[in-house]
């Protein structure tokens, strides 16, 4: 049975200031720690630091590059959004270096920064809500991401892209969609919700379905996997993907084998009417310092498709990602 394997990263939040924290990040921590840090930070550098989106921990991203180097037997690396903490060029360029700059020695570039670009690795990316921030205040729909990562977004048009891989007689098609906000008005409120919410736009969902029909028509018995940044389940007000029910209904009716996503910074695997949702944890964001994750996804394609996931977690003792579980 042919096996397609991918390393799944998400929500790295690269940024020009590596360990910048913010209020959204603080809210994910234990209350007593959160309040303490909150007050300290507010008194130290004022509200501005709280409003700025959170960033990453360099050691953990070095570990992620090492993890990918150690595993050449995969078909690629899938990055489900929030590569950078904002869509400003200063932040995106740090993410781009990590994704695209060629390795010069081991998993580091000529200037010593970590990179995934070792050998002829296939890397697939799509934007998350942070990647589309025009500024630290979260104004949506920045165009810089497509400028920086367009070459890694295969067959992308009208908010949807795809790639198809073949092994023997088996085909797997990955179709990804961008459900980030177009305007502040797309969010539930214009102030707080705009930072974390997304919306299943009708025209993007239609294109997603059309693309699925098209691949089904051209590749007999193709296995389809949908990829997006936002989690298509209830994850609370601030992280909500509006109309995610429409997305799930479409995935089930089109017999899509699985959905891959990120956004929540908490790894999970759920199933809705046989449709599997594989949600990645964050890889190295400051609010995931003690729960940074990498997932390896295996798709065994035969008469039926079997999906298996290996979960790895960052160990500060070992200074590398260690195996956690298999589900």
């Amino acid at each position: 049975m042919p096996r397609f394997s991918y390393i799944h990263l998400s929500d790295t939040h690269f940024c020009i200031e590596p360990v910048r924290r913010n209020a959204l990040g603080l809210m994910r921590r234990l209350p007593r720690n959160r309040i303490d840090t909150y007050w300290r930070q507010m008194r130290t550098i004022g509200y501005l630091s709280l409003a700025k989106p959170a960033s990453y921990i360099p050691e953990i991203l070095i570990g992620a590059a090492q993890f990918c180097l150690e595993r050449p037997s995969v078909d690629g690396v899938i990055f489900t959004g929030d590569l950078a903490t904002t869509g400003m060029m200063t932040d995106l360029l740090v993410a781009r270096s990590f994704v695209s700059e060629p390795a010069a020695d081991g998993f580091v570039t000529e200037n010593g920064s970590p990179t995934l670009n070792v050998g002829s690795r296939n890397i697939y990316v799509l934007p998350g809500n942070h990647d589309k921030y025009i500024n630290p205040a979260g104004a949506p729909n920045c165009i810089h991401f497509a400028m920086q990562f367009g070459s890694l977004m295969r067959n992308y048009r009208d908010g949807v892209g795809h790639w198809v891989r073949r092994k023997g007689n088996a085909h797997v098609g990955f179709i990804y969609a961008d459900f980030t906000l177009q305007t502040r008005m797309d969010a539930s409120d214009k102030f707080f919700a705009v930072y974390g919410q997304g919306r299943v736009k009708e025209e993007v969902l239609r294109e997603l379905k059309d693309r699925s029909f098209d691949l089904r028509r051209r590749f007999e018995k193709i296995t389809l996997v949908w990829v997006l940044h936002f989690a298509p389940f209830d994850c609370g007000y601030s992280l909500r993907l509006h109309d995610y029910g429409d997305f799930i209904d479409a995935a089930i009716s089109l017999r899509v084998a699985a959905t891959i996503c990120g956004h929540t910074h908490r790894a999970s695997k759920t199933s809705v009417d046989g449709h599997t949702i594989l949600c990645a944890g964050s890889t190295g964001c400051v609010d995931a310092e003690e729960d940074s994750r990498i997932q390896v996804l295996h798709f065994d394609v035969g008469k039926e498709i079997h999906i298996q996931r290996e979960n790895y977690i960052w160990s500060s003792n070992e200074q590398e990602f260690v195996f956690l579980s298999r589900d």
């Binding site: 042919p2 096996r3 397609f4 209020a23 809210m27 209350p31 007593r32 720690n33 309040i35 303490d36 840090t37 909150y38 007050w39 300290r40 930070q41 008194r43 130290t44 004022g46 509200y47 501005l48 409003a51 050691e59 070095i62 570990g63 090492q66 180097l69 150690e70 595993r71 050449p72 037997s73 078909d75 020695d105 081991g106 998993f107 580091v108 010593g112 205040a137 295969r154 790639w163 198809v164 891989r165 073949r166 092994k167 102030f191 707080f192 209830d234 994850c235 609370g236 007000y237 601030s238 992280l239 929540t264 910074h265 908490r266 003690e290 500060s316 003792n317 070992e318 200074q319 590398e320």
Partner: protein, 280 residues
Amino acid sequence: MNFLPQLSEILDPKSREEFDVSPADIIRSYFEKLTPLDRSVRGISDEWQRLIRKSSADETGFTDTGGPQTSIEHEQTGLDLQQLYAWWDWDQTAQTLYHLMGVGYTGTVIGLEDETSQSVNEPSLPLDGSFSPSKKLAQMWIDNIKMLANDAGIPSTQIALPSNMVEAQQEFAKSLISFFGMIGQKLRYSGRTDRTVTREGRFTSSYEIQLCDRFFILPSASADFLSQLRSELTSALASGTVIRGAWGQLKLDRQSEVYFVLTPPRILADPSFVQSEEIE
């Protein structure tokens, strides 16, 4: 009171009356048991959040006394006033929590000199090895940060620092071990063969620069800092302290120079794996 199983019921205001739960209990349980992300995962609605905020205001009589009132604050943030109040809303909740839980938050700035400040220590991660810097070394680190802050125009009493010397030592050790782990992992997969950390009684120049960068040490203070650090590191290793990780280990040679002993690189290649072909 076993409160959590009843959360979904309490979302209904009628049920809330039946349970005879005071807003203070709601807030205490809410914060003690559930992080915001937990709330998100459990799908607790924004209506519930609003209920808590309203309840907290009613119960405690908390008033908004510290919001961004001045145009100066407004300019500093670069946000409009409504955005600031969105943040401030969470701040209010935080203060309310302190009020309800009886935590004596004093509002003082946390610094090394004022060890009587009410503070909650950050938890330290367990790290392999037992290296601990001296108070002198940790103090040098803190002093340099304060000098940098002073040069940047930030009063030294208003910097976010470890709340006491023990925490400062823990943080220093954590950062140092993480530093060597990071370098060790890079070296492990590198073509470079030089494993030397110290030579002729000092850190090699590459490490000197990186260590000063890591700990924010000013050039004028770097000689003392590096000398003290090297001395304590070699003493610790000589007395049996182990600094190691998956990357390998720091060791001392016969001349008491520090060097890396690295774990061989690990490549988990599956010989039976055949990479798929991208056809579009």
